[in-house]
């Protein structure tokens, strides 16, 4: 996708260069922690001078097929592709990973960790996550669990965590998260210079880039947006349907739904997916300690895989409502991967909640194979037609 933003080009270049950089770092003795799932705190990895990489890709049916041989066809495609990545061992980040850190937020991802450890001889460190995450007992458990996990990282790194290193790492990631949050505001403007998909690419570039380099690039991007926005140049205002994406993960490499919606003239203006905006919100680490990090992570926007038994006080849904207002969305596309039970089982419920707020909702239940491209397109197109009609928007 061509862009007028120089920093975006720099970020893409940095991503292209990153595998070679990591090879150099490893040659100089650095160790790479590849992590999967939602609640592995990068603060700990960075504070120990380890190189964090968030692993996992999507959209490649061949890798899904390969992964299915080791795990099961009854696991979601994202999980199967994770296993496929390890099975093929061609992904530069998988190859570079010295320790795979897996948390137990989504249990299927945890299973992938077990399979990867057994079949592909990867060293694994596991972090338990309490299902009853909002209770004091759950919080207490997670503090202990994270301390234990930190101990495993320390052993791996060959050094101990220090308060100052933690403070640095916490500050760095806080800066990154708030920068990304700001970027989301930029992309939602009527005459935005940056599209939501480009922002998602920037978020996901942050999965692999050196975090210190990344925050510099992020700030540069925000400055560039500020400068260009301030010019007198007349820009077209976007007129068509504004769509918010919710539901299952959309990892790097999976852009099927996004491209279908954009081809239809709809505009994606926000998301609360766990590979996009959600992880950037509400992580409030109050002091440079492992316990404070534990509390902050349990306090963030909850992942759908952590069950929550009271609808009225569900923070994930409350956050969804807030974001819909923030981004002035006309409708929600709830994207679910087949066998992603945490999000699929909540589809009808989420629809009802949003319907009560007058927000149209479409669930697109899909996989990575392209065989349902037209079927998905028909559903998306009908939804866009419906929302246009409802909002009297011209295509």
């Amino acid at each position: 996708m061509p862009t007028t933003l120089n920093t975006l080009r720099k970020i893409r270049q940095a991503v292209d260069n990153r595998p070679a950089e990591i090879d150099d770092l490893k040659a100089a003795g650095a160790k790479v922690v590849g992590w999967i799932n939602y609640n592995v705190p990068e603060e700990l990895i960075l504070a120990l001078d380890l190189v964090p990489v968030r692993l996992g890709r999507g959209g490649d049916d061949h890798l899904v097929e390969h992964g299915s041989r080791w795990i099961s066809t009854k696991n979601c495609v994202y999980v199967r592709e994770i296993v496929g990545l390890f099975a093929e061992n061609e992904d530069p980040y998988v190859k570079a990973t010295d320790l795979v850190a897996v948390d137990a937020t989504c249990m299927q991802v945890f299973r992938a960790g077990e399979v990867v450890q057994h079949y592909f001889n990867k060293r694994i460190a596991i972090l338990g996550v309490p299902r009853n995450f909002a209770t004091p007992e759950g919080g207490e458990y997670f503090r202990h669990e994270l301390k234990h996990f930190a101990g495993k990282l320390e052993e791996f790194a060959g050094r101990k965590l220090t308060r100052s290193a933690l403070a640095d790492a916490i500050g760095l990631l806080r800066g990154i998260r708030s920068g990304l949050d700001e970027l989301y505001t930029w992309q939602a403007a009527d005459d935005a210079l940056i599209a939501w998909e480009e922002v998602l690419d920037v978020v996901q570039a942050g999965n692999v880039l050196d975090r210190r380099q990344y925050i510099v690039l992020l700030r540069e991007l925000l400055s560039e947006l500020q400068e260009k926005q301030a010019t007198d140049e007349i820009r077209d205002k976007f007129q068509d349907v504004r769509i918010f994406i919710s539901g299952s993960i959309i990892p790097p490499g999976d852009r099927k739904i996004i491209h279908i919606l954009e081809d239809l003239g709809a505009r994606i203006v926000g998301d609360d997916i766990w590979s996009g905006l959600a992880p950037q919100l509400d992580v409030d680490v109050v002091e440079p300690t492992v316990e404070a990090i534990a509390d902050a992570y349990l306090g963030r926007v909850p992942h759908g895989a952590l069950p929550y038994l009271d609808l009225a006080s569900d923070r994930r849904l409350a956050n969804l409502g807030k974001l819909l207002e923030r981004f002035q969305a006309h409708g929600v596309v709830y994207h679910t991967l087949r066998y992603c039970d945490p999000y699929t089982f909540k589809g009808t419920e989420t629809k009802t909640v949003l319907q009560n707020k007058g927000i149209p909702f479409l669930e697109l239940h899909t996989e990575y194979a392209s065989s349902d491209q037209e079927a998905i397109r028909t559903r998306a197109e009908a939804f866009v037609e419906m929302v246009r009609n409802r909002n009297l928007i011209e295509a």
């Binding site: 009808t348 079927a375 559903r379 009908a382 939804f383 037609e385 009609n389 409802r390």
Partner: protein, 277 residues
């Protein structure tokens, strides 16, 4: 011509290129003056053109007479003859509303998918849900089943009505159902009972779609499968609704809706032209 005149006397065509059949309807104002159904061709563009030519012939008209053409169905993406393409969901909604203005719920079981649609009083889509991947319940599936039982597709519904007891069948996967059917036939089960079970399984899946959008009697049943009396009864029983008696070939609903939308789009364009003058 004035918009008013056009609305009353203009010629509007709808072409619905489906996976099994290609359908076309022509309106003069609000009067249906031509209709055709042909088996879908491998080349959907050619099939659409052919259906359009045949329907105009049926109406005693030529291409030059047509004011606006809307194409729908999965083959709409290669319909160069059309002025506009619209999804079959929107077209079925419009078509059902054209025929039954009081109906608010539409069920369409087509060749490769099934849809539950809620409409407002103007025939605009208020909500919809479509079948999930692999769930049993499409026209194509019934065609395969007809082959297994070695009966014409048109007789499958009647056969199901002769059942003494519907055998509970899987509804999660078409392939599972097929293998269950073969097992049951091997065990000497009454084919009518098996077919009734299949209809019931499809009705269950349909019930699932309506659970997401809500349902209100009477239900308009469109698409080729609507001609299957066994399916109609199974839907009425499973969903506890009445299916409206069709006033027109249900398989042509999408094409009719496309033609009605063609009329609306033409009027809008005309109005815009009048405003610009």
């Amino acid at each position: 011509m004035s918009t008013e005149f056009q609305l009353e006397n203009g010629i509007f065509a709808g072409v619905d290129v489906g996976s099994l059949g290609t359908k076309s309807v022509v309106l003069r104002g609000t009067e249906i003056v031509g209709k055709v159904i042909i088996p879908s061709r491998l080349n959907s563009e050619e099939g659409g053109q052919e259906a359009l030519d045949l329907v105009l012939e049926d109406a005693g008209l030529t291409r030059a007479d047509v004011d606006f053409i809307v194409s729908t169905g999965y083959g709409r993406i290669s319909a160069t003859y059309a002025n506009k393409t619209v999804t079959e969901i929107t077209c079925h909604a419009k078509g059902a509303n054209f025929l039954h203005p009081n109906v608010r719920t539409i069920l369409d079981i087509g060749g490769q998918d099934c849809k539950a649609i809620r409409v407002d009083e103007n025939g605009a889509v208020a909500d919809f849900a479509m079948n999930d991947k692999c769930a049993a319940g499409t026209g194509r599936f019934l065609e395969v089943m007809a082959n297994v039982f070695k009966v014409p597709l048109s007789e499958l519904g009647d056969l199901s009505l002769r059942a003494t007891q519907a055998i509970p069948m899987s509804s999660t996967c078409t392939v599972f159902v097929e293998s269950e059917v073969i097992s049951l036939l091997a065990r000497g089960e009454n084919p009518a009972n098996i077919i009734a079970g299949i209809h019931q399984a499809i009705a269950n899946r349909v019930g699932g779609l309506f659970a997401r959008v809500g349902i209100e009697s009477e239900v308009y049943f469109s698409g080729g499968v609507a001609k299957n009396i066994g399916m109609k009864r199974a839907i009425e029983k499973a969903l506890k609704v009445t299916v409206a008696e069709p006033r027109f070939d249900p398989q042509l609903t999408g094409a009719l809706g496309a033609a009605a939308l063609a009329r609306a789009f033409a009027a809008k364009e005309n109005l815009a032209r009048e405003a610009a003058i």
